[in-house]
């Protein structure tokens, strides 16, 4: 997980922050009279923001002391120049030059590094594995989270307990949960080892690559159920109660209301979470992979970020790692743009 990746999206959905400011818990659209207001606060972006790129603020009354104002921005600018823009441009520079390890000389080689990467079957294997990891873990965690959020939103008995406990997995560091799952899914000890007593040799993620991939998918999905649950529940609570009541009046039972009213109204959130989960699966998988499998067995869990780390820091192939970084950067940027295009046309219901 990395917050920065994604709060990019914060910009286009002004919504929750205004609820956030009031100091109340997530607002519950209970009172029909309140419904339009609350819906505006917690559903999609307000109409005025529609189709407009994010921009700096338009306060009428501003301070005249411009040098002081600029000075306020200097610390941030220095930091992002040194630790963001410079490294990002270095990555581009390295991707087109041949870098000696330990800073020894560099030679311009054009597209050779990129070519070397994209013609390497090991790289494509890593890409395919990353995509499978992203797709399956995202589907699994979003599916479970959706069911949980829909049920918790019904506010049955014990609602408060579910609401807090289901969030806990998200608080765990990836390596810690990697170690916990490595024990639970170990072939000789832990929770799943009993299957090997019944059918000897049926489960061993240290030998079978697909089982190892399954294990890291499961661990990652477990963590992200909590994360998806938070967003889905917040979105569900933004749906005006009156809509559900109208559905009930027309004779729709709870299950039908979920399928025909709540889930369709949730689509913007679901799409937003989909992109977010995929980008997070590229980054946050590192700790899990490093502790659980170390990229093995036989590179079966050698996901993209892990490969960059391994080639760059263990293999000292800076140029190759930089070329891979560039490809991954393009992928993340593309996903972010898809997100923006969609967010602008976000469905909403006020």
């Amino acid at each position: 997980m990395s917050p920065e990746a994604i709060s990019a999206r914060a910009e286009n959905s002004v919504s929750p922050s205004s609820a956030f400011v009031t100091g109340d818990a997530l607002p519950r659209a209970g009172d029909p009279a309140d419904a339009p207001k609350i819906a505006r606060n917690t559903s999609g972006p307000p109409a005025k923001n529609k189709g407009r790129a994010p921009r700096s603020g338009d306060k009428r009354a501003v301070f005249r002391n411009n040098w002081l104002g600029f000075a306020f921005a200097i610390p941030q600018l220095l930091l992002i120049f040194t630790f963001f823009y410079w490294p990002a441009s270095q990555a581009i520079y390295w991707a087109f030059t041949l870098q000696g390890p330990w800073g020894g000389g560099s030679e311009f080689v054009g597209l050779d590094n990129i070519k070397a990467v994209v013609t390497d079957p090991v790289y494509w294997d890593s890409v395919v594995r990353s995509l499978v990891f992203a797709a399956v873990s995202t589907g699994l965690s979003m599916g479970i989270a959706l069911v949980m959020a829909l049920l918790v939103d019904r506010e049955l008995a014990g609602n408060k307990i579910y609401r807090s406990v289901l969030v806990w997995p998200y608080a765990i560091a990836a390596p810690a949960l990697g170690l916990a799952f490595r024990f639970m899914l170990a072939p000789q000890a832990g929770v799943l080892a009993f299957v090997n007593h019944i059918w000897p040799g049926i489960w061993d993620p240290t030998i079978n690559g697909n089982e190892a991939l399954g294990a890291i998918i499961f661990a990652f999905a477990w963590k992200y159920v909590g994360y998806n649950f938070i967003f889905m529940l917040a979105a569900l609570q933004g749906i005006p109660r009156s809509l559900l009541e109208a559905g009930a009046m027309d004779g729709a039972r709870p299950l039908r209301r979920m399928v025909d009213i709540q889930i369709p109204l949730l689509t913007p959130t679901l799409f937003f979470l989909l992109v977010l989960n995929i980008t997070d699966s590229f980054q946050d998988s590192f700790g899990i992979v490093d502790i659980m499998t170390g990229g093995g067995p036989a590179r079966a869990t050698n996901l993209m970020v892990y490969k960059i780390y391994f080639d760059g820091f263990k293999g000292l192939d800076y140029s190759g790692a930089a070329a891979q970084s560039i490809i991954l950067m393009l992928l993340v940027i593309a996903l972010t743009f898809i997100q923006f295009r969609y967010v602008e046309r976000r469905v909403h219901y006020t």
Binding site: S2, E11, L26, F63, F83, F84, I230, P254
Partner: protein, 304 residues
């Protein structure tokens, strides 16, 4: 809603309970495994009732990974990131929203773009910068010919070098250098009425005074939420601390887990490993459990 759906409610409760069990089960296994001795923890199936060796496992894990020092490092690291984020994002957003200088839109975009590329994606060159944080400036001097001029006239060869490896600054600064909080503040500042500034101006308050006496107190909830999220996020960060610190006395608790991971060739000391896991995962878990509402609200608001 007044509606009788008893059967459906029972189905719902069963499903919810299953979800609860799945969520809690790994915590439960970690806690139970940490109380057994080496023999019991390797039994198949593992006994699901607590053993008697928790303190022994705990102290073995504690000394093996030197968690005393590492937890202190983790606290300093996470507090540093949280403070840094809260402070720097606040003043940046203040600058963008409340001043009318030219170029503020450019600054806004410069900050905005940093949201797109997480640290993990540009990890190799960022590490190179941390190894010598002045290298970008050296390169600028070299390219512009300034270092040549200096060398020519004074005979001094300019070689700026300041490494951040194995230091708190190296751990903290790159993680602060992103825009997460800036947008949270900006959104909030835009909801504050313009009359607030006008009134403050009329009362003779300058920008510094207005920031300190009005903006900060009004942002208290946002600050608390951002702080909590950033603390937990930084505590759980793994890849960056793993790279930047090599000195065992400078490492953080999450990286310390590497010292308790059982090797293929050594004893399968899962009891010690799980005790270590417990030590590392409890602090953020406690924070999230205690500040649940703040955490959830902050998470939704930053949409991170």
């Amino acid at each position: 809603m007044v509606e009788r759906t008893r059967l459906f409610n029972i189905v719902c409760q069963v499903l919810l309970f299953l979800g609860l069990v799945v969520s809690v089960f790994p915590f439960f296994i970690v806690a139970i495994a940490a109380t057994h001795n080496l023999r019991d923890v390797n039994l198949v199936p593992m006994p699901l009732w607590p053993g008697h060796d928790f303190l022994a496992n705990f102290s073995t894990a504690w000394t093996r990974a030197n968690f005393g020092v590492k937890l202190v490092n983790s606290v300093i690291f996470a507090l540093g990131v949280a403070f840094g984020k809260v402070a720097i994002s606040a003043i940046t957003a203040y600058s963008i929203v409340y001043f009318g200088y030219r170029g503020r839109t450019l600054i806004f975009w410069l900050v905005f773009i940093t949201l797109m590329l997480p640290l993990e994606v540009r990890i190799v060159p960022t590490y190179a910068v941390a190894a010598n944080v002045l290298s970008p400036y050296q390169a600028i001097l070299d390219v512009t010919g300034i270092s040549w001029l200096i060398a020519h006239f004074t005979g001094v060869q300019v070689a700026l070098n300041f490494g951040l490896l194995d230091s708190y600054a190296g751990l903290i600064l790159p993680l602060v250098a992103t825009a997460t909080g800036t947008f949270l503040y900006r959104q909030f500042f835009l909801t504050l009425p313009d009359e607030l500034v006008e009134a403050a101006k009329m009362d003779g308050a300058g920008p510094l005074r207005f920031f300190w006496d009005m903006i900060i107190p009004l942002s208290r909830t946002n600050i608390a939420a951002l702080f909590t999220i950033m603390f937990v996020w930084a505590w759980n960060e793994y890849l960056w601390p793993l790279l930047v610190t090599t000195d065992p006395l400078k490492r953080v608790a999450v990286v310390g887990l590497l010292d308790v991971v059982p090797d293929k060739d050594s004893l399968p000391e899962w009891n010690v490993a799980m005790a270590g896991t417990l030590i590392v995962m409890l602090p953020p878990l406690i924070i999230v459990a205690l500040t649940q509402r703040l955490f959830v609200r902050g998470l939704v608001a930053t949409e991170k």
